[in-house]
């Protein structure tokens, strides 16, 4: 069995998020903290659990991004992926989901993954598109927002086949179940598992293991993986006005607490 897990490096939004000079993406402030997209941690953890059930399974973790994305690939190795692939972008420009999906699709097209896992959504662009797009490009069946899975494999080796049972999340606590023929792609919803902390042995191995770095070329060029023309264009980014109708309480913390209590009393909540 061969599994590919797509892991994206994202800017941690707990800190300041500022629009860059071009007005089209986010500034990389010196203090900016980058980390693995949390939904992808769930996807990677799910792959590790499948490997535990099917020894001999190989897990590749892949990230497309600029030089710094190598840290996220390495993080995936620390968590337990067997190989790390960095589709290297030579600038920090934002790419639309279809562009990224095409790169990942081109990389995966002749590598015969039995299963591809992605996160349900990236925390930065919040598109939720790359997973199903990769599946459609590769003509794999897919299910998004998966909350549980069970793999049934028949045969072994390169022509292994089988099916995967999945439950995907609907609104209001409902789920719906499907059986997909392998090879297939799933996007993993948060809460399916508890991602583990890296084991020391993996951390040590990851430190010395070389990443597989593949340059992603510019549109028009072909080798080894290249970009299609973008299908959408960002016109502008904007920080929304902090408040439409409300007020931000001012003063020191105790004054604010006093004001809040007053307001709540006036409105008869207290």
């Amino acid at each position: 069995m061969k599994i590919l897990v797509c892991v994206k490096q994202v800017l941690d939004a707990d800190g300041p998020v500022r629009i860059d000079a071009s007005g089209k993406w986010i500034e990389e402030a010196p203090a900016a903290r980058f980390r693995m997209n949390r939904f992808d941690e769930f996807a990677l953890e799910e792959a590790l659990r499948i490997r535990e059930g099917f020894p001999g399974t190989r897990i590749d973790a892949l990230s497309a991004g600029p030089a710094r994305a190598a840290q996220t690939v390495r993080r995936a190795l620390e968590m337990g992926a067997d190989d790390g692939i960095h589709l290297f972008l030579d600038d920090e420009r934002y790419r639309m989901p279809f562009e990224i999906a095409s790169l990942i699709g081109a990389y995966a097209s002749d590598r015969h993954y039995d299963l591809i896992l992605a996160g349900v959504m990236a925390e930065d662009d919040m598109q939720g598109q790359v997973g199903p797009m990769v599946a459609e490009i590769l003509e794999y069946p897919w299910a998004t927002a998966v909350m549980s899975q069970k793999l049934h494999k028949t045969g072994d080796g390169p022509d292994a086949s089988g099916t995967i049972y999945v439950e995907r999340e609907l609104e209001g606590g409902l789920r719906e179940a499907f059986e997909l023929t392998l090879p297939a792609l799933l996007t993993i919803q948060s809460g399916i598992n508890r991602p583990r902390y890296p084991a020391l042995s993996h951390v040590l191995r990851a430190r010395s293991q070389a990443l597989i770095t593949i340059p992603a070329s510019r549109p028009g060029e072909t080798d080894p993986v290249s970009f299609p023309a973008p299908r959408e264009r960002i016109q502008s980014l904007e920080e929304p006005a902090p408040m439409k109708t409300g007020v931000i309480l001012s003063g020191n913390p105790s004054e604010k607490a006093e004001k809040l209590r007053q307001i709540l009393q006036e409105r008869a909540f207290l």
Partner: protein, 322 residues
């Protein structure tokens, strides 16, 4: 290229879900600029009657996309059935609900059609005649305006973002209704059915005041603080963001948002919640929103009536002592 706008209806048990009317309102507003025709697609095993009703009620031309393979939702059948019909129509826009199912098939459909794809759309503006679609990124901290580059664009529209005008009057002229039958059965995905929700309790639905915890509470122990704050109010309940459930700090029945509960209490107090669109989708109906967050730029402040920029660990005890 033609300027037609297609709305894909979302049904449950052969009933039109309310989000479909939001899509219609969105499509009509989008059409107004260039008086484009809006047409509905109603997929399902036997949607003739539902499609007929919709055509009567809205005056829109409606296509009932029917057949046994469409008895249950299935990404493969949905996408294949729609792509075949849409590829010949070449509509300008295809509007799909940003629901679990909508998000499941929309991006694949866009790839198959060679279309642009814009998800979680909350609105649009017009500039030099072209529509710019508005969506949020970074948990709502930044607003993004996007334009499509292709002749056809697949849009998923965020539930609750686009208000339905007061129950629009029944159309004077009923729309036409066309039936298209789907023969193709799915090859790679088999539908096994819907699994009912675990038992729910009514606490959140009945509460006047909901005090909600986000990842910003920092640790499970600190839930106690939130619980004590909730205890100040009568008829109160504890809610939380999805992240808090994922961390195992509270059960999923407390989750508020797109994939959790939708609530509309008299007072909603958000503690350490960033205000991602998926969370807002479940509480935007609250009468009054108080937000406590240490980040002055957190998106939750955009919809708050009272905002407090403080560390909740120091602030909440002060509120209880005040």
């Amino acid at each position: 290229m033609n300027n037609e706008i297609i709305v894909v209806a979302e049904l449950s048990d052969n009933r039109i879900l309310p989000v479909t009317y939001e899509l219609i309102a969105f499509a009509r507003a989008l059409a107004a600029g260039d008086s484009a025709p809006v047409r509905m697609i109603v997929p399902g095993r036997e949607t003739h009657a539902v499609a007929r009703d919709l055509a009567d009620e809205t005056g829109l031309d409606t296509i009932a996309l029917v057949g046994d393979p469409l008895a249950f939702y299935n990404a493969e059948t949905w996408m294949t059935a729609m792509a075949a019909r849409l590829a010949v129509r070449k509509p300008r826009y295809i509007c799909i609900a940003h629901t679990s199912r909508g998000c499941d098939f929309a991006p694949g459909l866009a790839v198959r059609l060679g279309a642009s794809c814009i998800t979680a759309v909350e609105g649009f503006s017009r500039q030099d005649g072209a529509a710019r679609f508005v969506r949020k990124i970074f948990n709502g901290k930044i607003k993004m305006d996007v334009t499509p580059e292709r002749d056809t664009t697949v849009l998923t529209v965020l539930p609750g973002a686009f208000k339905v005008e007061q129950k629009s009057p029944r159309a004077h002229l009923a729309g036409s209704m066309e039936v298209l039958k789907i023969p193709d059965h799915p090859q790679k995905i088999r539908t096994l059915g819907v699994i009912p929700a675990e038992e729910q309790d009514l606490d959140l639905a009945l509460a006047d005041v909901i005090v909600s915890a986000g990842r910003g509470i920092g640790a499970e122990e600190n839930l106690e603080l939130i619980r004590r704050l909730a205890g100040l109010f009568s008829k109160s309940a504890m809610g939380c963001s999805r992240t808090v459930c994922d961390l195992g700090w509270l059960g999923y029945k407390h989750q508020i948002g797109l994939t959790g509960k939708t609530v509309a209490p008299k007072l909603y107090i958000a503690c350490g919640i960033s205000g991602a669109v998926q969370h807002i989708a479940g509480m935007r109906g609250s009468k009054m929103v108080v937000a406590v967050n240490k980040d002055p730029r957190a998106a939750i402040f955009q919809i708050a009536d009272i905002g407090i920029v403080e560390d909740l660990m120091t602030f909440i005890p002060l509120v209880m002592d005040a």
